[in-house]
Amino acid sequence: MTDMFPQQIDVALSVNGEAVEARVPAGRHLIDFLRLDLGLTGAHAGCEHGVCGACTVRVDGRSVRGCLMLAAQAHGAEVWTVEGLSETGEIADLQEAFVARNALQCGFCTPGMLVAAQELVASAPAPTREQIRERLSGNYCRCTGYEAIIDAVEAVAQARAGGAAR
């Protein structure tokens, strides 16, 4: 240690639309801050090495890995988790499609899938199945229910674009 710089960091950020202030250890990861300090257990800590995507949350408008970002780096940021996106209704159609098409089995990957899928559908009006596949390749489903997940995302993309859902 250089003993010249802080190991405890003061952060002020917005989480699901609410202002949050806290003092966190430098090594606190965003996903642990959300889950353990704020009790927002929707996003999951899976592999904790940035591989599986279960910890996906939205920071300043983009989906990121909550396990590869320090809470200290979220100072000043606007963070949304699956809880907030559920409460605002932003992903209601995705959630309904996931249920209707049995796109979740154990459900562990689902919060990350929903945040990633919402970013894709919001940015690409009519994604092909290949594009959906590629954009969700960073989110692992250990039940291997990928086809149903792609079905659900494709249906929502088509419905939002005004077309009939398959």
Binding site: M1, T2, D3, M4, F5, P6, Q7, I9, P25, A26, G27, H29, E48, H49, G50, G53, T56, R62, S63, V64, R65, L68, M69, L70, A72, Q73, H75, A116, E119, L120, T128, R129, E130, Q131, R133, E134, R135, S137, G138, N139, E147
Partner: protein, 351 residues
């Protein structure tokens, strides 16, 4: 993870002063460093968070027709940039072939340039690794490491550079702008990464405290336009590092190649610019025979570093195919699976 201190400096000068201390490391997108800190392969005592430094987050045109990209621009934003897509499409294709959407949202230009090898022995603190610990030897030697190098490796280190982004950058003669304790300087991207030799722990040309502030893509490379492609062969078609990749660009007039660029990824500790192959192409007709001859030239010095001899022929075929793709020109729309050899096959049939 070891405890550490954290600083969010407000100027490049403040960042450089802090990061010049022993035990300090720069933190940008965090996608590589924080992972290595969790495994124990890295243990900085001070993280200097450069993501909020002013002036490092823009993409600007250069007077020669090239582009200057700030070091903190996220990979996803580089890939989305209209001028980048128009003038340097193989850079975009390489970026989109790497990692996942969420990682591309986080990872920065500077961090991508400095990402560490994915050699499993480097990432495992219990293994001997002279890249991680000076003089420690190499437990990866003679192991069946499919990711290991076939060019430029030494008995001390067989690791390969994992970056997709750096491969077209090497082909395009990109320049790296650096700020450090001694002021500002430029380093050619092709000189940024060191071959291991006897000092594998000296991974880059950067001195302690030096910070990448920008990347310049010279206008000369913009002339290739859509006649430039990136091709990446990996264990699966998305979200995997390259076994072998190639960036190829051609300028053809009157049925003869006037200018050629070729660089290989996944084969060495640096993105491997194949100048012999480029020379062999000049004046030739852009056909399969010329591309195969160029690929032979590119891999002439290659030798296996373990059970990875297959990569040499794989690299030849990848290079030749990338040249053929470059001659044909990039499609109007980026393939759904960028840089994939299976891009035109379509969706797989599932039971």
């Amino acid at each position: 993870m070891r405890k550490f201190e954290y600083l969010r400096p407000t100027s490049v000068e403040e960042a450089v002063a802090a990061a010049s201390r022993p035990g300090a490391a720069y933190l940008a997108g965090g996608t590589n460093l924080l992972d290595l800190m969790k495994t124990g392969a890295a243990g900085p005592e001070l993280l200097v968070d450069v993501t909020r430094l002013p002036g490092l987050d823009a993409i600007e045109p250069l007077t020669d027709g090239g582009l200057r990209v700030g070091a903190m621009v996220r990979n996803a934003d580089v890939a989305r940039d209209a001028a980048m897509r128009r003038n340097f499409p193989m850079v975009v294709e390489a970026l989109l072939s790497g990692a996942s959407g969420q990682l591309r949202n986080m990872a920065t230009v500077g961090g991508n340039l400095l990402q560490r090898t994915r050699c499993a022995w480097f990432q495992t603190p219990e293994a001997a690794c002279g890249r991680r610990d000076p003089g420690a030897g190499c437990d990866a030697r003679d192991q069946a490491g499919r990711s290991h190098a076939v060019l430029g490796w030494s008995e001390r280190c067989v690791a390969a550079n994992p970056s997709d982004f750096c491969v077209p950058l090497a082909a395009l003669d990109a320049q790296v702008e650096i700020a450090g304790p001694g002021g500002r300087r430029d380093v050619a991207l092709r000189e940024l990464h060191r071959l291991p030799g006897d000092t594998p722990h000296v991974e880059t040309a950067l001195a302690p405290g030096e910070l990448i502030v920008a990347l310049r893509l010279p206008g000369a490379g913009a002339g290739f336009g859509r006649f430039s492609r990136y091709l990446k062969v990996r264990e699966r078609t998305s979200y995997a590092f390259a076994l072998v990749s190639a960036a190829a660009a051609l300028r053809v007039e009157g049925g003869a190649i006037l200018e050629a660029r070729l660089a290989l990824g996944g084969v060495a500790a640096r993105p491997w610019r194949a100048v012999e192959a480029e020379a062999a192409l000049i004046g030739a007709a852009p056909d399969a025979g010329a591309f195969r001859a160029a690929a032979e030239a590119a891999l002439e010095a290659a030798r296996p570093s373990g059970d990875n001899a297959f990569k040499i022929e794989l690299a030849r075929r990848t290079a030749a195919r990338a040249l053929a793709l470059a001659a044909a020109g990039a499609p109007e729309r980026m393939p759904a699976l960028p840089a994939s050899p299976f891009a035109d096959i379509g969706a797989p049939a599932h039971a």
